[in-house]
């Protein structure tokens, strides 16, 4: 895996892609596709679906590169958000099409822990977020992480945690409110 380029580089590549510079777009892809595909593969367990989501993500990035604002997010975070949204949309579409939810596998829970290699260089922001997540009861923390990393819906969480869908919704909202308090500081 090639080392990610420095952030400023990515921002410059994004800006040039916004001006329809195809070489810059290619370079942007080379630097970021593995990361984005990693994000997508956690959410889309089907390889074909994941590949489609990756392609849709980069088409969106190409079309919206002009809108990227360094004030809103780092380039990689901005791109990863696009990839995550594409992957979640694809996952929802498919599960609603076949109207059958795949049985959540144990692997999903086991893979919740952050990638150790990436965690080595973990940012202050990630440390703080992890601390706040760890302050939640373990099953609620797992619910939040299964949703964020693996794209689980309320319904899928309801199956796994054997709780009615509405209870899952209430639990999620309470957990998120606590998370927000912990991260933003109490008012």
């Amino acid at each position: 895996m090639s080392k990610p380029r420095p952030l400023q580089d990515l921002a410059a590549l994004l800006r040039r892609a916004g001006d329809e510079d195809r070489a810059a777009f290619d370079a942007l892809y080379e630097c970021t596709a593995a990361k984005l595909f990693g994000v997508i593969c956690r959410i889309c367990d089907n390889r074909e679906l994941a590949k489609e989501a990756l392609q849709e993500s980069y088409l969106t990035i190409w079309r919206n590169a002009k809108l990227y604002d360094v004030e809103i997010a780092s380039p990689i975070a901005w791109m990863a958000r696009i990839a995550r949204n594409q992957a979640i949309d694809a996952r929802r579409r498919r599960s609603e099409q076949i109207s059958a939810r795949s049985e959540p596998s144990d692997e999903d829970v086991m893979s919740l822990e952050p990638d150790p290699e990436a965690a080595l260089g973990q940012s202050e922001a990630l440390r703080r977020l992890t601390m706040c997540l760890d302050a939640l009861p373990a099953d609620r923390r797992d619910m939040v992480l299964l949703a964020y990393y693996n794209g689980w819906s309320r319904e899928e969480l309801s199956d796994r945690f054997v709780q009615p869908v509405n209870t899952v919704k209430t639990i999620l909202r309470r957990s998120l409110a606590l998370l927000r308090e912990c991260l933003d500081g109490k008012n």
Partner: protein, 247 residues
Amino acid sequence: MAKTEQDRESDSLAAEYVLGTLNAAERADIERRRGRDPELARAIAAWELRLDPLLASVAAVAPPPGALNAIKQKIGAPPDLAAGKSADRAEIVRLESRLRNWQRAAIGLTALAAWLIAFVAFREMKPVPDGRFIAILESKDRSPAFLATVSVAQKAITIMRVGDPPTGAAGHSHELWAVGGDRAAPRSLGLLNTASQIPTDRLGPLDAAGLGGTSFAISLEPEGGSPTGQPTGPILFTGKLMPAAGN
């Protein structure tokens, strides 16, 4: 800071949207509303910032080969070149498109086929009493579909699927042919769906004379195989027979 009930609901929805737990209809609704509801848009942006750090801990996964080319195809050809009229421009466009085709062909290979090619010796056919020959059968768009291995020792041709299965039309069979070499006409080796191992009898002598210049082809035939002994349907996959490394 007192929050209205509406603000709280808006923030909860934004949080669940960013977390990803909403269903397709709710997600579409949020995406429609965020453009004209600044409060909602702000709430979404704030939640994205709060949860972004988690993305840093997701492990990278090598993207599928060919994905970039598929994306570039959807983006389309550069307009400045496509609109060019001068001879030079036209030549550049031609070269670019040939390069793209070539790249597509190269990238279209699956990892397995690429790995195999790396182990194939591109050299003169030699008589190899116990060697192996392989052919990677590709579709017209150059994506590999089958790997055929000829084992001289076992006198057998093994067919293995490496790509997506061919779209099977009901009531049809896939037939394997040997073409080229000193054969005047394609020679049927057998049907794909009846046996994964096909005896080499019909391939002819397993030496330089028999195998040199031979290609394999798979055609779509009526159920049970070609009624005429020659391919009657479209040729779906072709590949050149080559000595495998280690011979």
